[in-house]
């Protein structure tokens, strides 16, 4: 794949640029997934037994 290029919106990415963009996207996805899990656990911890005491 020497000097392979990909045409996107008129911009031609080299294979290396495409590979790095993909790795950045994967890293962002992993961080976002970790944040979702973290916020879920924090919410459960913060609610604790209070969730049973709420008024409707």
């Amino acid at each position: 794949m020497e000097n392979a290029v990909v045409a996107e919106n008129g911009v031609r990415l080299t294979e290396e640029q495409r590979r790095r963009r993909r790795s950045r996207s994967v890293a962002i996805a992993l961080v976002l997934a970790a944040l979702v899990a973290l916020f879920y656990v924090v919410t459960i911890v913060k609610l604790g037994s209070n969730v049973a005491l709420r008024t409707f």
């Binding site: 911009v11 290396e16 640029q17 790795s23 950045r24 890293a27 973290l38 911890v45 913060k46």
Partner: protein, 316 residues
């Protein structure tokens, strides 16, 4: 054309003229200054462990994570602002921005996003005092140290050292919701540790700092003045190091160990004081620089162990 542009223009693989980022996740991770971050995490954890009362492990983990990310944000913003002088120093020219792997704009956006995110999450999850202290730490490091002091005064790392000394105070505040004398003693230990640590490095790298135009003490006040000030701070640090035992929030065993470690620091500082300016090896300064890292790590590790021993009843 700025000096940074000049440097990037000559680096193969640097940011393309079409503006397409060539950064990998590792480059962004490097922006966080992971080695500094590990020290921040360790000292903040000690602050949390020494604080009276408890914190839920998950909330404690979030607090440490936010403090670490806040410290990383400070590092990224520092690298954004200092890219021009980083490019002129051999120690820093391979950092992602001067090497051209990350654009200054990317570093700025990354740093600001992490700074805001870490402060808001710490405030919403733990408490707003610790969040305010974290915000102040980031502000102090980026604006007061990086933008105002670093290029203007040889006292840059003395005053700027306050930012690096705050993490245990943030950790303490995360548990207690207060700032107390004990947490300020932890602050003082790191605050007094910072000048001899960085001045030892500045003695070794004085040419580098001079080339970059950073007014470190050896370049401005001279070699002998730096030697004297290193010794003064070493003595003050040795005293502050035993303060936790004197004030009663660490045991006498910690106090004895800290006194021995402090004496070693003063001894190494005296060796630096005897070093000749034309010494090609700078061996004494190198030794002090290495010992200073060991000193801070061991003192905080002993405080953690001491607290652990108190909690399980080994120590009264």
């Amino acid at each position: 054309m700025t000096s940074l542009d000049t440097v990037q223009a000559h680096i193969p693989g640097a940011v393309a003229s079409d503006g397409i980022s060539g950064a990998s996740p590792a480059d962004y991770f490097a922006l966080l200054k992971p080695r500094v971050m590990s020290l921040v995490v360790f000292t903040a954890l000690t602050g949390m462990a020494l604080a009276p009362g408890g914190i839920h492990p998950v909330i404690g983990f979030v607090a440490i994570l936010c403090i670490a990310v806040g410290a990383g944000a400070s590092g990224a913003l520092n690298m954004w602002y200092d890219a021009d002088i980083d490019a002129r120093m051999s120690r820093t020219r391979e950092r992602p921005v001067p090497a051209g792997r990350v654009t200054p704009g990317e570093a700025l956006g990354f740093g600001l996003t992490l700074a805001a995110g870490s402060v808001v999450v710490l405030g919403l999850t733990v408490n707003w005092l610790s969040a305010a202290l974290l915000a102040f730490t980031i502000f102090f490091y980026v604006v007061v140290y990086t933008m105002w002091l670093k290029r203007r005064t040889p006292q840059n790392i003395v005053i700027g050292g306050a930012a690096g000394a705050l993490p245990p105070v943030v950790g303490w505040a995360a548990v207690t919701g207060t700032v107390s004398v004990e947490s300020l003693i932890l602050f003082l230990i790191i605050f007094l540790w910072t000048p001899p640590h960085f001045w030892a490095l500045a003695l070794i790298r004085s040419d580098d700092y001079a080339r970059a135009g950073v007014p470190m003490l050896p370049n401005v006040a001279g070699f002998a003045a730096t030697q004297r000030q290193i010794l003064v701070y070493a003595v003050l640090l040795a005293i502050a190091g035993v303060a936790p035992a004197i004030l009663g929030f660490a045991s006498i065993y910690y106090g004895i160990a800290a006194a021995v470690l402090g004496a070693g620091f003063v001894l190494d500082a005296r060796w630096v004081g005897r070093m000749r300016e034309n010494d090609p090896t700078m061996a004494a300064a190198l030794r002090l620089f290495g010992y200073s890292i060991l000193y801070l790590f061991v003192v905080f590790a002993l405080l953690l162990l001491d607290r652990g021993a108190q909690l399980i009843g080994i120590l009264a």
